[in-house]
């Protein structure tokens, strides 16, 4: 489905611009999950994210003619979503605190993973538990903004490093650093939660050795 959207994308856009505007529904459909999650990664509030997602889509429609096709449509749309999210955040926080984009990754903080020895004994069923998904959601929501945004784009929406860098206006090496730290923070947060899981069985990923 995604593949199909990719190959037809340019054609679809041309037809929309030529007047078949109803097709915009189809153009947006493969991206709507991504738009919402991008907004949510920034504003961290469901209603606000949904509103922002709608604004993003409307704005994309109005500015479709300015889409040059240098990036993928989804990346372009993500950029609009990020701007929309930042705008909302600024509004919410007030002009006094205009530091959203200035956050950088310092060297403070501990980004080492939590050691454990018996992970591979954790049963596959553990990954199926609702509580674990909930724990992951909470842990992601609690990541510092700069890490959460990269993590959501890379690991939830599965954009590649370059697309993520482009969308956030940072370098690919910054994406790498932030992604690594985000993953390590999540690993550390979730390990204690998983350790309590009972009966031993084979891990989901056997070691590829």
């Amino acid at each position: 489905m995604k593949q199909e959207a990719g190959t037809n994308e340019a054609g679809l856009i041309a037809r929309i611009l030529a007047g078949e505007k109803e097709l915009f529904h189809e153009l947006i459909r493969p991206c709507e999950r991504m738009v919402y999650l991008t907004l949510f990664a920034i504003v961290k509030n469901e209603a606000e994210a949904e509103d922002g997602a709608q604004e993003t889509v409307i704005s994309a429609y109005r500015h479709l003619a300015s889409f040059r096709g240098e990036a993928k449509f989804s990346t372009w749309l993500t950029t609009i979503a990020i701007n929309e999210g930042r705008k909302r955040l600024r509004k919410a926080k007030g002009a006094a605190e205009d530091s959203i984009e200035e956050q950088t990754e310092g060297h403070e903080g501990d980004f080492t993973p939590a050691p454990l020895t018996d992970w591979r004994e954790i049963p596959l069923e553990a990954l199926e538990r609702k509580e674990l998904r909930e724990a992951l959601r909470v842990a992601v929501a609690e990541l510092p903004d700069i890490y959460r945004q990269v993590f959501i784009l890379r690991d939830v929406e599965e954009l590649n490093g370059e697309e993520t860098a482009q969308a956030l206006g940072i370098t690919t090496s910054t994406v790498k650093v932030r992604l690594h730290r985000a993953r390590m923070m999540l690993q550390k947060r979730l390990v204690p939660f998983l350790k309590t899981t009972a009966p031993a069985r084979r891990g989901f990923f056997g070691r590829a050795l």
């Binding site: 505007k21 109803e22 915009f24 529904h25 947006i28 709507e32 999950r33 919402y36 999650l37 949510f40 469901e46 949904e50 997602a53 709608q54 889509v57 409307i58 429609y61 109005r62 080492t112 993973p113 939590a114 050691p115 454990l116 020895t117 018996d118 992970w119 591979r120 954790i122 990954l127 674990l132 998904r133 992951l136 959601r137 992601v140 993590f151 690991d155 939830v156 599965e158 490093g161 790498k176 992604l179 690594h180 993953r183 390590m184 999540l186 690993q187 979730l190 390990v191 998983l194 891990g203 989901f204 990923f205 070691r207 050795l209």
Partner: protein
Amino acid sequence: MKLDCKHVWEHISEYIDGSVDAKLREDIERHLEHCEICSAILDSTRNILVLTADDRTFELPVGYSERLHERLAKELESSGQDSEKK
């Protein structure tokens, strides 16, 4: 070169993404062969990513898509009035 655990941790994310060079990959794999702790860290991180990519983990609000397309339909309609009708 022999890697220590800390060194492996620093590259674990890139290792998962397949973006370490061949030599480093080999060193990491050699380390993993005998290091239970690093293997467990690698597996746990991978499992978290599996869970992250699961659509059930990050769900959309119920009715999100319907509301989005409804709003869009209104926009398309009103934009049509400008260009097509008087």
